[in-house]
């Protein structure tokens, strides 16, 4: 099956074309078409994964362009890393497509489902292509396609001004990261002469360290934008304007993981540069804590989960930055499932209550039990309670940070874990316990949605047990795929020795946080008084550290629009003024010309002809 893996992104392309073209005529059956093609993709991914388990890897390429005599090839690379990732991604895309069949139904009257499925299919093309691409340029190209689909899907309800604004913001902020990414790959091409990942890896040990570090940091710049890390995280909470399925698929489970995957994919470059890795670790660790603080105070259920996503992505970068590829990928896998679950459960709640505000929910445990308990499984996984999946991977991340001996990084990890357990249970308790506070009549979602929730809950519970297996798998990957020098001289941690004390500490902290949330939001102990005491801090968090103000008003408004207006004014008044001024000086000749301008075409043509003839005569006249 592995030799057919290039078909994995091609399958949804058919779905995209069908949905795009047939969508203007047919309204029914498009979802089924999309699911059908995604199912084929899923089977191909599974087949490729099984072949990889049996020890095969695969690379195939073709010439795409010639630049200055150098051939640029494009192809697919299926190895342990991409096979695992492509399986995770295609599973999630398939599940969320199925869930969409139920979730999107209420919107069919006002918005075309064909557009939804076409854009989701195009997204699948980009995401699957990104994962199996064998070179940086092709990765970048698919990277932009998923960015385009993210833009389009955030604006799915484009008639809402907030959605139109959010999609613009998402595109522009991630574009800033993409510029860095592009600089990185162009620098690598100019210095190494190739985009091919495997060739780059073998060249990496001989490359100039400054160039390598610069390129690695630039690649990470792309990851910061896509994976919404500080300071480019501002677009992700706003991206929640899209349908919740989109938030689950693109803004939690897959696309935002692309940044993590990029760093993991190009890890041999990072592993040769301690500076690049340190930057990755600090940005990741800081973001993990920073985003978690904002999640504490949000009242929009999707925004809490969005900040949680940013925070958890920070954990993954923390793991990669501290040299543990295994911990990063492990957390990526677990998080993809439990965060998709949390979003889809939230979507189920939102459709039932017709609001995002957790203050207008409550008591839903009795009204929608499947949603409640599947979301509980997701919350336990996120909070890191054993034996749910998040526990295993978060523990590995914190362990990797602790092993570096840098206690700041370890602190980021532990503190963020404490906040995480609190904020997610704050949401769960407020939404599902107590009395219902809204005005709707919430009821459980249809089976097509709840069945997906149950499947994801099983994943959220069980993927953590794959730890030992994944450890061996990744170790095998590093041994077979990375140049020897990278592993030997690089800054990588291969197998992490378990540290029981640290593990116990994180569990105790998480349980304590959940207890506080329980006391506050179920038992009614007025911990919100803290909010009144710490009013300025609450405001700071609620206003997202004023970073939206910085990006929208300062960068967008004051700098962007202002300079555009100044340039526009300069163009109209100064440059054109000078040109017209020169024109007015020649007014005399102009008035003469105007008399000549009769509007008679034959007249003009004869004048031109006469001119040409005069020219010819003039020259033939002086010629010897």
């Amino acid at each position: 099956m592995i030799e057919y893996s290039w078909l994995i992104p091609i399958m949804p392309l058919f779905g995209f074309i069908i949905c795009l073209t047939a969508g203007y005529r047919f309204t029914k059956g498009l979802g089924e078409v999309a699911i059908f093609f995604m199912f084929l993709s899923f089977l191909l991914s599974l087949g490729a994964f099984i072949d990889v388990l049996n020890g095969q890897t695969y690379q195939a390429k073709m010439v795409w362009a010639v630049v200055g005599g150098k051939e640029i090839t494009f192809g697919v690379l299926i190895d342990q890393l991409s096979a695992l990732m492509v399986l995770i991604v295609s599973t999630l895309i398939l599940l969320i497509h199925i869930y969409s069949m139920g979730y999107m139904l209420p919107f069919i009257k006002t918005n075309k489902l064909s557009r939804y499925f076409a854009e989701m299919q195009l997204f699948s093309v980009g995401m699957l292509g990104l994962v199996i691409a064998d070179n940086l340029l092709l990765m970048f190209m698919f990277w932009e396609i998923v960015g385009l689909c993210s833009y389009l899907l955030i604006g799915y309800f484009y008639r809402k001004p907030e959605a139109a604004k959010a999609q613009l913001k998402a595109f522009l902020v991630t574009r800033a990261g993409d510029v860095a990414f592009l600089i990185g790959i162009v620098v690598l091409f100019v210095y190494a002469g190739t985009f091919d990942l495997l060739k780059l890896f073998s060249l990496a040990p001989e490359m100039d360290n400054f160039v390598l570090t610069f390129a690695a940091i630039m690649l990470f710049g792309g990851a910061i934008g896509k994976s919404a890390q500080f300071p480019l995280h501002v677009w992700l909470p706003d991206a929640m304007e899209g349908p919740t399925t989109v938030s689950a698929l693109i803004h939690a489970a897959t696309m935002v993981k692309a940044g993590v995957y990029l760093v993991a994919r190009t890890y041999p470059l990072f592993a040769m540069s301690s500076e690049a890795l340190t930057i990755v670790a600090y940005i990741g660790g800081f973001t993990a804590l920073f985003a978690a603080t904002m999640a504490l105070v949000m009242v929009d259920i999707k925004k809490v989960i969005a900040y949680s996503t940013i925070s958890q992505l920070g954990y993954m970068f923390l793991a990669l930055g501290t040299g543990s590829l295994f911990a990063g990928m492990f957390h990526l896998m677990n998080h993809a499932f439990f965060k998709a679950l949390l979003f889809l459960a939230a979507g189920s709640v939102i459709n039932a209550c017709m609001t995002n505000d957790i203050r207008e929910m409550g008591g839903l445990r009795r009204l929608m039990p499947i949603t409640a308990y599947t979301m509980l499984a997701g919350s336990l996984a996120l909070a890191g309670i054993p034996p749910f999946s998040g526990f295993f991977s978060k523990d590995e991340v914190i362990l990797a940070a602790y092993n570096t001996g840098d206690m700041v990084l370890a602190f980021f990890g532990v503190a963020a874990a404490a906040l995480t357990a609190f904020y997610i249970f704050r949401v769960w308790f407020m939404a599902f316990t107590g009395e219902y506070r809204g005005r709707e009549h919430p009821k459980e979602s249809p089976a097509v949605m709840t069945s997906v929730l149950v499947i994801l809950a099983i994943f959220a519970f069980s993927t953590g047990f794959a730890k030992t297996w994944l450890e061996g798998y990744m170790e095998h990957f590093i041994e077979t795929s990375y140049p020897h020098e990278v592993v030997k001289e690089g800054y990588m941690q291969l197998v992490l020795e378990p540290n029981e004390a640290l593990m116990a500490l994180t569990v105790v902290i998480a349980v304590a946080s959940i207890t506080i949330a329980y006391l506050g939001y179920v038992r009614g102990i007025p911990i919100y008084r803290i909010r009144d005491v710490l009013k300025p801090i609450h405001t700071l968090l609620y206003e997202k550290y004023y970073m939206d103000y910085l990006f929208e008003d300062i960068f967008g408004g004051r700098i962007g629009i202002y300079w555009a207006r100044v340039t526009g004014w300069f163009d109209r008044v100064v440059i054109d003024g000078v040109v017209d001024g020169i024109g007015k000086v020649m007014l005399v000749s102009g008035s003469v010309l105007r008399k000549v301008q009769t509007g008679n075409v034959q007249y003009y043509l004869s004048v031109v002809l006469l001119g040409v003839m005069a020219l010819i005569f003039y020259f033939t006249g002086v010629s010897p």
Binding site: W64, V190, W563, A564
Partner: protein, 482 residues
């Protein structure tokens, strides 16, 4: 012979519509000959092999002056000839905005394409200049007759401005002709012969500047660009298609064909100043575009910004940079006409192109909106569109040549995305503006014109090598020669 065939087909297409009585037949005739010329240029492409000039034709025209009818194409000009015939087809299919003297309109459209194709083929400087001037006249009338409210101002500005460039250019041609005569005693305007001239450095600099000045106006490059938004805003849609698609490319083409072929040492010596002019043009065009309220002037200024990449590629003068610059000419030559067609259709259906008077257009014109988003993505050089391949290749070349300076160009991508998406947000998305009256979605002929360009854009974005291959062969030889 194939090149003359293309020219004759275009010329027939420009004469015959005047002779028929019905507007419909005139249009059909124009489309028919545009299609034939496009087919002929594709045939030329399939026959094109390897590198160097091919399909050469040479007949004496005015022997006493050494002026000859000398045509040939290479990897630089063949893509642009294909582009010209493709846009002839697109422009005639899109047709006239409002029925008015239709026969003449189609004739002038085809005449513009005839002149432009001639410019791309001519290897005799005098012949080059004749074709160059032929282009101006029909374009002048297209703006002056079928233009918008300020058509007199715009058409006059267009002809005066580009004519100043032409005059200085022809003086430089005559100077080279005369110098060659002084050195060898032979009179010629032949490009190959004149390229052998040895000119003392100081004079070379003057001639180089005189030549690039004319081409800078045509491209256009900051600060000689203000004729372009004026002309575009007033021009009819098909006129804009040709103006942005091929007339600007005459400047970029001329730059490589004449000053950079004749005076490569001067070009190299002035690489940094030219690169800085290019970078300023890229950013200036983008920022000025963001401030526009009329969709057409936004697109016009985006053209200024995009042509800056062509100049940047020329300044860098590495094989990658040249490939990128030429590919950018083709990519912009399909993306920008698409954007102008979108703006023309919008004006046709909604009665306005002013962004602040639009809003939520996607609600009433979903097909138009789909094409508009695609066109904007091509404009902001999203991967899998031809523009991405082009800009990306230019950036590689620029980084090879200018190192750190080139890093400053990359952020232009944010500004470019900014103005395209800011306009989309205000005009296409958001709540529907109830004051607007929209008369249906795109018409069939508009759809065909858009679809052809989208196919070209995406095909070359996914698989550029059929076109990029011949360009790159040229660039490697060109960069090796200079």
């Amino acid at each position: 012979m194939i090149l003359s065939v293309i020219l004759i087909l275009l010329l027939l297409g420009s004469i015959l519509p005047w002779l028929v009585r019905s507007a419909t037949i005139a249009r059909c005739v124009a489309i028919f000959f545009a299609f034939l010329s496009f087919a002929a240029s594709i045939y030329a492409y399939t026959m094109f092999e390897g590198s160097g000039f091919q399909f050469e034709e040479r007949y004496e025209w005015i022997p006493s002056l050494g002026i000859s009818y000398h045509l040939a194409v290479d990897g630089l000009s063949l893509p642009l000839v294909i582009l010209t015939t493709l846009l002839a087809l697109v422009a005639t299919i899109y047709g006239v905005d409002e029925p008015k003297r239709d026969n003449q309109f189609y004739g002038l459209i085809m005449l513009t394409c005839f002149g432009t194709a001639g410019v791309f083929m001519a290897l005799d400087l005098f012949l080059f200049f004749v074709f160059w001037e032929i282009v101006l006249i029909p374009m002048y009338f297209l703006i002056a007759i079928w233009g918008g409210p300020r058509k007199d101002y715009a058409s006059f500005k267009f002809i005066i401005y580009t004519h100043i460039g032409s005059v200085i250019m022809i003086l430089a041609f005559f100077a080279m002709h005369y110098l060659y005569y002084l050195q060898t005693g032979v009179r010629t305007f032949d490009l190959f012969e004149l390229a052998k001239l040895s000119i003392e450095p100081k004079l070379a600099v003057i001639l180089f500047i005189a030549l690039i000045f004319g081409f800078f106006i045509k491209m256009p490059i900051f600060p000689f660009h203000t004729w372009l938004p004026a002309a575009h805003v007033e021009a009819p849609t098909s006129g804009s298609v040709l103006l942005a698609g091929i007339l600007l490319k005459m400047g970029g083409y001329g730059l490589f064909r004449i000053p950079y072929t004749f005076f490569p040492e001067v070009a190299k010596a002035y690489a940094y100043p030219i690169a800085i002019i290019a970078i300023v043009t890229i950013f200036y065009g983008a920022l000025a575009a963001m401030a526009q309220e009329d969709y057409k002037s936004l697109i016009a200024l985006s053209s200024v910004s995009h042509m800056g990449y062509v100049l940047l590629g020329a300044a860098a003068l590495t094989p990658a940079a040249i490939t990128g610059a030429i590919f950018q000419m083709f990519a912009h030559g399909v993306a920008s006409p698409l954007l102008f067609i979108m703006a023309g259709t919008l004006h046709h259906k909604a009665g306005t192109r002013l962004i602040h008077r639009l809003g939520g257009v996607a609600h009433k014109m979903p097909i138009w909106a789909t094409f508009m988003v695609t066109a904007s993505m091509a404009g902001l050089a999203l991967p899998f569109t031809a523009s991405f391949v082009a800009e990306f290749t230019v950036l590689i070349g620029a980084l090879e040549a200018f190192n750190v300076l080139a890093l400053f160009v990359f952020p232009a991508a944010i500004v470019t995305a900014g103005y395209f998406l800011y306009a989309l947000r205000r005009a296409v998305f958001g709540p529907f503006n109830a004051d607007l009256h929209i008369y249906g979605d795109v018409d069939a002929h508009e759809f065909v014109a858009m679809f052809m360009l989208v196919v070209a854009i995406i095909y070359l974005g996914i698989y550029p090598i059929p076109l990029e291959g011949i360009i790159d062969t040229f660039s490697v030889a060109f960069a090796g020669g200079v």
